[in-house]
Amino acid sequence: MLILVAMGLLLIVTLIPFLGAILVAVLARLGRTHAAWAAGFTVLLSFGCLLPLAGAPFAGETIIQRLRWLPSVGLDLAFRFDGLGLLFALLILGIGLLIVLYASYYLSERDPLGRFYAYLLLFMGSMLGIVLAENLIQLLIFWELTSLSSFLLVSYWYPREEAHNGARMALTVTGAGGLALLGGFLLLGQIVGSYELSVILQAGDAIRADPLYRPMLVLVLLGVFTKSAQFPFHFWLPNAMAAPTPASAYLHSATMVKAGIFLLARLFPALSGTDEWSWLVGGAGVITLVLGALFALFQHDLKGLLAYSTISHLGLIALLFGIGTPLAAVAGVFHIINHATFKASLFMAAGIIDHETGSRDMRKINGLWRKMPYTGALAMVAAAAMAGVPLLNGFLSKEMFFAEAFSAATHLRLGWLLPAAVTLAGMFAVAYSLRFIHDVFFNGDPIDLPRTPHEPPRWMKVPMEVLVLLCLVVGIFPAQVVEPLLTVASTAVLQGPPLAHDLALWHGVNPALAMSVIALIGGGLLYWGRKPLFAFHDRHTEGLDAERIYNALLNGLFAVSGALTRWLDTGSLQRLLTVVIAAALVLGTAGFLGDPVPLTGRRPLLSVDGVSLVAALGLLAALTGVVVLHRQRLVALILIGAVGLVMALIFVKFSAPDLALTQLAVEMVTVVLLLLALYFLPPHSPIESTMTQRSGHGILAVAGGVGAAALTWAVLTRPYDSITDFFLANSVAGGGGTNVVNVILVDFRGYDTLGEITVLALAALGIYALLEGLRLDGPVDDPKGQPWDADVHPAIMAALARLLLPLALLVSAFIFLRGHNLPGGGFIAGLLTAAALIVQYLANGIAWGQERLPWNAQRFIGVGLLATALTGLASLLVGYPFLTSAFTHLHWPVVGDFELASALVFDLGVYLVVVGATLLILIRLGLLHRFERRSARARQGTAVSGEMP
């Protein structure tokens, strides 16, 4: 058992946050602190489960754990734990824990904390799933889960317009990227012949030489760029700032956007090393780096500044991976760590400032140093790390970055452009970091702040303290603190021997140092001269705006699909039917044109007896009656009743008693349903089309009918083999029942039935929701203009209906119990019970019925669905596949041999869902008119008391 747990430990680590999300959502009812403790405990538990494995990467091992998942399509649930996975898992869980603590102070009493934590944990689990995946398809599933759960997080304050707009944009962009990524992964799998990372990472040369390399690379990079907000897909990130700040701090420092970067690092050995890789990744990276830093400078919103700065830093990391040298990749990994720490703490600082002042506008927020010096000091250290000031972690990775950028492009023509662009971006970064410090904490007095700021609660600052401390410690003692982790992570990225890199503060006077100095001084000057720059920016805000292109594309898409829908669907039923039937006729006839085959097959015809002939003629007569009299709606309904009856007889005659029983029960429920609807509709269908149109439709209808009849004739006169024989042979042996139809429904195809009754339940609940609150006026008189009968519930009808109930329930129970062996089963029994109950409502009124039936229809549906699902799960518990049935035969005195199958419980679920759904729909329709009825009855009351004639 212990070994089994150890084998699946990575799965457990990934699953714990998902389970914790449910726990938190439940515990949140008890109070905010319960939710916070549960969330924190979940993170710690997941972390604790990871600990036993944490030593392996340092020992140079890669742990791969595999569980059978979908062996039929060659997919295993495979987890991989190496240095890169360890680094990311640490970031996800470590910063996640700090966010849990921070959020409990940040979110106000009005905000449901449980919901936030549940979303956060869902997201955390999805991220862990990505970084611990061995199988690419599995990675993609978690990738999509991060898109979905981040949608929930961004739209947390969903009544706000910017929240749902931002969330939708993020989901659209990252979702589209996910689709591209799926295509890329499929191509990659095709090239390598496996979706396992262990195989893919060793197959780099084969991948790069493959003709499919380019399309595959483009698709994979589309996924990466959308997720990591690389130009030109960066625009969703600033809009996602509508999320609560703890979510932003988490998504945009350590997780969501880093998923793309993670994939770059993960696939680095397999995909990098070509010109395509360098130009695409490096190109997108450098543009994103410079533009992001430039835009960040012009943001007045604190979080906007951080958002664009995040974009810029993501570009920086992408550029490092794009450069493609091993040392650049190491620098990229290092910057992942550093950016996560300082950016998370800066977002927390922005959240505290927002929390304390009620504003995020840097034009208003000034001089906070006097109000909150402690928070200010922390924020300043973090901002200095972002700017790349020495003695802080940002400086170290930025130095490495400058060095790599300098040496990477020297051999190219115009190669000096890269170091120049990089230094320029460095200047912007220093300028916007200075702005974060100076504009917020100094620069005069606050202007019109909604609240008077003071220091936040003690524990709200703890997460920031931890992160800022890390920035300092890493910055001052890099070799002792971060070196081992960086080494194992880089080894995993490079898939090679550990690379010698020198993490030191002082490397001597070299180009990188010069670039750093230029960036620091230039950034300072830039900030000092910011006023003319801002003025210039305000005058020229029009420009290349990816968001506008996105909106134009989206609107265009809506316009095209709208036009297409309007062209296809004019709202005319005649038109739709004409198109469908004409298309079927043309295609059906075309298939027969080239190859003449006789219409009648070789199968001998059955003899015809007189009774069947008369019944068939009666069916035709009733059908003709429906066509001729269809404008009188009630008459048409009565005639359809006769048609249904003869159809049931035909089913009986051709040995399909189950069908016959179902047909009869459905027939009855349909009549009641249509009667309920007819009450609100005009009694006659008006003539709306011209004579020519009607003749055209008539010809088409006759042609369609003849065609269908000819096809049926052709099929029925030919012998054919079907899968029937298999079911007939296996029904008793495999399902323990002699009624093949029922055994198929509850056993062989139990999964289908489960799906079908779920759809039925959803449809019933949908109707319930649609009709909720709808009240319609019914006609005052009957179709002949006479007033309705005053006797609402005639006594004879009520008495007879009550007599019927026990009888019908007995029949229903009988049909249900014998269903496994003889015609019957849960579906028919359910319809029978529903019909028996409906007739009580019909004879005695809804209020009467509801007083006597303690369960409402929804509960029938819920219990029924649970019963079917639990039967399926029960078979999982004893080690069989989902929905395997077990059965035994008992001998009861008097009753005789009685068969007991687990399928009976399943069938009971089907029965309950059918009862519930039918009752729910019919009673809802009946309730449409309730209130008017009451007032009519009230009027009646006055009439009886003698005031009216």
Binding site: A622, L664, V672, L842
Partner: protein
């Protein structure tokens, strides 16, 4: 022995009743006529099924007959309630 004579006769008579019911269903003239015709059709169908069961010496058809009896009653009640009140479930 009796059944060899009685069965064909019974079949013929029920079939005739079926034909007349269909006729009444089609020509009406009024709604109650048609509802009654449908109800009679249900009874004819029950008779047919029982006769078929006797003919084939099988009870397999009786459940269908039972169900027709039940459902026919409920259908007729619903139609009548509609004629009386319009709103059948109130």
């Amino acid at each position: 022995m009796l059944t060899s004579v009685a069965l064909p006769v019974a079949f013929a008579l029920v079939t005739a009743a079926f034909v007349f019911s269909i006729w009444r269903l089609l020509v009406g003239p009024d709604l109650p006529d048609r509802i009654l015709a449908l109800d009679t059709l249900y009874i004819n169908a029950i008779a047919w099924l029982v006769l078929l069961g006797i003919h084939l010496a099988s009870t397999l058809y009786f459940e269908a007959a039972l169900l027709i009896a039940l459902m026919g009653f409920i259908g007729t009640v619903a139609l009548c309630k509609f004629l009386l009140r319009g709103d059948i479930i109130e």
